[in-house]
């Protein structure tokens, strides 16, 4: 892409004759709510949608400027779930960090833990054992599947395919059951930690997983019958909430939103981390950049993740599941009774924590929603000096006014749903 047309794009996004972004304070919007701004034109009004609306995926609030039923401009209002997690991250030690970040994007917690742990490891300049890398990759792909299944469920529910909600949740629950076996928890696992993972895979994990993987392909084919090929579903989504590549790039959109415009970009392929350069998978891209493409991309990404998980089962290397550096990972419980040194290491790690050399780093992974980044600054102490998470949902929400512009309110529900924002990550 050349410089001139990129700047033109930025210009157009900025100066669209009728900019889709409503820039109005909440107070001003509250005063106008429900009343026509101009008495002569009583079709045109400001309307509030959310934060407690069934299709806003948590607590997203949209201030809409409507002409009749058509959306002219829109302002997403966020912050209802803000709990200062970046500030909290500065109080916790590097070992405690994952317990905090895992609660950000609660539908794909392992990715948050992964990106934080990778940032800490880069600052420490340590390499995790091969088995830990593969366990991380396998668990993350399972998490991508569970997250996309959750999207299938909520997207179906938003559009009136209530049956789909039950099916999506059913399949997701089966994956979460496997997570519970491995990590002890269905969500917020604190499983991926700096230095490796918290525990090795349980006995017989291959059998559990194979059983799960054998069921899923036919279930996904059922989704195709229930939704993909169904005329009502297609009519509801095709051509709704269209974005082109230039707009997506200019707005910072990543993940399925960027890929739906036909732009091939997936950090797993383009900036391989973990062992993604050793597995075989396809990057799914769309053509039209509409809600249907975003739905279809996620459905097919579940299939690609299945392929990756199968390869992980086959090649899972033997060895340590965490680095054997006693300054970073705690000693096994049994050693504490036998070795004074192990007791000291244990005590030091859980009271003071380990120190991370001074420096700053940005690490990014491909989460189910796009580029999840972690900017980590250490001043040489045992706590991050600054921990910033670049949440893909937060940035992707900027596309919402563009997706909604010119459509009717009912299509807005389809468009917001197809962005798949997780508000925990938006607000942090």
């Amino acid at each position: 892409m050349t410089a001139t047309n990129l700047n033109e794009t930025a210009d157009r996004v900025r100066r669209r004759d009728a900019s889709p972004v409503l820039r109005m304070s909440e107070t001003a919007a509250a005063n106008l709510d429900g009343n026509p701004a101009d008495p002569a034109d009583d079709e045109r009004m400001i309307m509030n949608m959310g934060p407690a609306h069934p299709s806003t995926h948590g607590v997203l609030r949209l201030i809409l400027e409507l002409q009749g039923e058509t959306v002219l401009r829109c302002k997403p209002v966020v912050g209802y779930l803000h709990t200062g997690m970046e500030k909290t991250g500065e109080q916790l030690s590097f070992l405690q960090g994952p317990t905090n970040v895992t609660r950000m994007d609660y539908s794909s917690p392992l990715f948050n833990e992964l990106v934080f742990s990778m940032a800490v490891e880069t600052l420490l300049e340590i390499e995790v054992p091969e088995r830990a890398t593969w366990i991380r990759m396998m668990m993350c792909e399972l998490n991508r599947m569970s997250s996309h299944l959750l999207f299938m469920a909520t997207n179906g529910m938003d559009l009136g395919a209530v049956g789909m909600m039950i099916y999506g949740w059913r399949e997701r629950e089966e994956i979460l059951r496997f997570f519970e076996k491995v990590t002890g928890l269905r969500m917020n696992h604190n499983y991926i930690r700096p230095g490796g993972v918290a525990a090795d895979l349980p006995d017989n994990w291959q059998a559990d997983l194979t059983e799960l993987l054998d069921v899923l392909p036919e279930r996904l084919d059922e989704y195709d019958i229930l939704m993909s090929g169904q005329p009502i579903w297609r009519d509801r989504l095709q051509g709704v909430g269209v974005l082109n590549t230039a707009e997506a790039l200019a707005l910072g959109a990543t993940g399925p939103i960027l890929r739906s415009t036909g732009h091939q970009w997936d950090l797993r392929r383009d900036e391989p981390y973990l062992a993604y350069d050793q597995v075989d998978f396809d990057v799914i891209v769309g053509t039209y950049g509409d809600s249907y493409d975003r739905y279809a991309i996620r459905l097919n990404e579940i299939r690609e993740s299945l392929r990756i998980v199968r390869q992980c089962i086959e090649t899972m290397p033997k060895g340590d599941y965490r680095i054997q550096d006693k300054k970073v990972t705690p000693p096994p419980r049994a050693r504490i009774d036998q070795s004074m040194e192990a007791l000291i290491h244990h005590f030091k790690i859980f009271t003071e924590g380990f120190k991370v050399p001074e420096g700053e780093i940005y690490v990014a992974v491909e989460s189910p929603r796009g580029e999840l980044g972690c900017y980590l600054v250490s001043d040489g102490g045992a706590h991050p000096y600054r921990m910033h998470i670049r949440g893909p949902s937060f940035v992707n929400l900027q596309t919402v006014p563009y997706l909604l512009q010119g459509g009717v309110i009912a299509d807005g529900v389809a468009a917001v749903s197809s962005v798949d924002p997780i508000m925990g990550e938006v607000d942090r």
């Binding site: 107070t27 509250a30 500030k87 200019a250 959109a253 970009w265 780093i361 580029e371 937060f394 900027q398």
Partner: protein
């Protein structure tokens, strides 16, 4: 052009530190970091965009006021309390750069990058909300995560954890 060598813009003298579009080039754990002056930020980002860095990935800030030790910076860079950090990504050459800009406490303003990358709008609002750094020429610089009438900037280091009880001032509402 997109694959331009990082040191291509460097002066011929060997003692001269490498520069790229006028910004000092440094490295942090193998990642490219550019140290820019506030005044040159916008032209630098525009030049990098023209070079192929087609997406602005991240805008954030750090408050260095209570760091245990002075951070390592090139000799030419004068450390200030705040640092605004901008991440750019080139999809063509699969390359990233990070721009660090020193922002003094006495005048915490930075030019907005909205002209070049409209995707920075929410990110810059977040930095303004959390650090009180003002982005000049931003179209709608308002709080984004905290309530509109909140006082203080939570991610500043002098904003203590748990200092303030819940601070809602009865914002006017229609319901």
């Amino acid at each position: 052009m997109a694959d331009q060598d990082p040191g291509a813009a460097a002066g011929d003298a060997a003692t001269e530190p490498p520069r790229r579009h006028g910004a000092l080039v440094a490295s942090s754990r193998g990642q490219t970091v550019l140290h820019a002056e506030r005044a040159q930020l916008r032209t630098l980002v525009a030049a990098l965009t023209a070079e192929g860095f087609d997406q602005l990935i991240d805008v954030t800030a750090v408050d260095y006021s209570v760091a245990d030790q002075p951070r390592p910076l090139p000799a030419e860079v004068v450390p200030e309390r705040f640092e605004v950090v901008v991440g750019l990504l080139s999809h063509g050459s699969r390359e990233r750069v990070r721009i660090r800009v020193q922002v003094p406490e006495s005048e915490p303003t930075v030019p907005s990058l909205f002209d070049v990358h409209p995707g920075c709008e929410a990110l810059e609002r977040e930095v303004f909300d959390m650090f009180g750094i003002v982005f000049e020429d931003h179209p709608d610089l308002s709080r984004i995560l905290m309530p509109e009438d909140w006082i203080g900037h939570p991610l500043r280091k002098d904003y203590a954890v748990g200092r303030i009880p819940v601070q809602f001032k009865g914002a006017p509402s229609s319901r």
